[in-house]
């Protein structure tokens, strides 16, 4: 039985969440999640590249020779990443400065190449868009959860786009959440809890 388009979209958010269930695309996720603002930039950039490359790859999937499909995918993805790279540099210089080498590294984000290989090269355009949007949303949400925990817990406040959104008074923030080990701890514990919840549901 074929899955519906809506199902292609929703499955990426929880069941096949790229970060927590499939454990791919990790590197960027951990590195940029110390601030909510960076997490939003990264999530949007990666989702854009994923949807755009899914569309193009599913359009040309019939004419790509099977032997050289991986190089073709990589070139397609690299072109969209270049678009993101140059537009971020032009419109959000501060965000570009904060993300640094992570923007070119979207090319080798295994999540995007994985979706191109596993989904877009076998399915039609509409379903590929749904898949890209769902996985992108799942990725962005997971990033946001980690970033909120790390920024709120580590600094006691969330500052995004020069506005203080939440601020905790009288709370001594444990700085470890902001630093590198904190990213590993937060991610490991969240993943364990999520698994426990899923097991209860069964």
């Amino acid at each position: 039985m074929k899955r519906s388009v809506w199902r292609d979209f929703t499955i990426g958010i929880i069941e096949e969440n790229p970060l927590f269930s499939l454990v791919i695309g990790l590197c960027a996720a951990l590195a940029v999640s110390s601030k909510v603002e960076n997490a939003i930039f990264m999530g949007v950039a990666a989702s854009f590249v994923m949807v755009a490359s899914n569309i193009l790859i599913s359009l040309i999937r019939k004419i790509i020779p099977n032997q050289i499909r991986i190089p073709v995918f990589i070139v397609v993805i690299a072109s969209f990443v270049t678009i993101v790279d140059l537009s971020m540099k032009a419109f959000f210089p501060a965000g570009y400065e904060a993300l640094g080498v992570w923007i070119p590294l979207i090319v080798v984000n295994c999540m995007i190449l994985g979706r191109a290989e596993a989904f877009a090269s076998k399915n039609g355009v509409i379903r590929s868009i749904a898949d890209g949007l769902g996985k992108g949303l799942g990725y962005t949400l997971a990033l946001l959860v980690i970033a909120v925990i790390r920024e709120l817990g580590g600094t006691g406040q969330i500052v995004a786009f020069e506005n203080t959104i939440v601020s905790l008074k009288g709370f001594q923030p444990p700085q470890i959440l902001q630093s590198f080990p904190g990213a590993f701890f937060t991610f490991g514990i969240l993943m364990g809890l999520l698994r426990k919840l899923q097991r209860k549901g069964e």
């Binding site: 990790l26 070119p104 590294l105 590198f180 990213a183 490991g188």
Partner: protein
């Protein structure tokens, strides 16, 4: 000479690519569950990373930069260099040394999507990504020293971590935390240890 050593040390230990900068984590968690596979993977990474930086340095300095197209083309150019290099190395090794191919052959295709290789090449070759407070002139020698430092840092951590994970396997852990979650927590503890190197020699 002293500066080169500091660049090496910064890449190898103080800014360790896996535990401090989170680059290359996917293969790190993927292959570090067994000791032998992690040794094979790190051999392949050292080899490909050094070659990739060498070739990317040439491409940037003799092709992209003189033509003035570096800003737009560096991402596709570098990733294509790495992908074709990996393919080429795989063919050469299969022909020349079957033993070596057996040891690191299956890891070679994985390296194409290892972000550590692209990160090392981009940072050491293209101006604009260097974030350390050390002086850096984008010469070939510096780029190679920096890359080898990154590659050795990657190898050291992945091998060390594989040994740890083999021990974790037999430890009593809550069921939901078995496998990946506990590996992340262990990585967090190792990262905490590496944080102690920060500020060494003022880097």
């Amino acid at each position: 000479m002293q500066r080169l050593f500091l660049i090496f040390l910064a890449a190898f230990l103080i800014n360790n690519i896996l535990l401090i900068r989170f680059i290359g984590l996917c293969p790190f968690f993927g292959v570090s569950s067994r000791f032998e596979t992690s040794v094979g993977m790190s051999m392949a990474v050292v080899f490909v990373m050094t070659l990739a930086t060498l070739v990317c340095w040439g491409v940037w300095n003799f092709l992209l930069d003189p033509l003035g197209v570096g800003e737009f083309l560096y991402i596709p150019a570098f990733i294509l260099v790495i992908a074709s290099l990996v393919q080429f190395v795989e063919m050469v090794i299969r022909k020349v040394s079957p033993t070596l191919f057996k040891a690191m052959g299956i890891f070679l295709p994985l390296i194409t999507t290892n972000c550590a290789v692209l990160a090392a090449a981009t940072e050491s070759v293209k101006p604009g990504f260097w974030k350390l407070s050390l002086e850096y002139n984008y010469g070939l020698g510096e780029a190679l020293i920096y890359t080898i430092g990154i590659a050795l840092g990657f190898s050291m951590v992945i091998i060390m971590f594989a040994a740890m994970r083999e021990r974790i396997e037999i430890a009593p852990i809550p069921r939901s935390f078995k496998g990946f979650p506990i590996a992340f927590i262990a990585a967090g503890l190792s990262s905490l240890a590496f944080l102690g190197f920060k500020g060494l020699f003022g880097i």
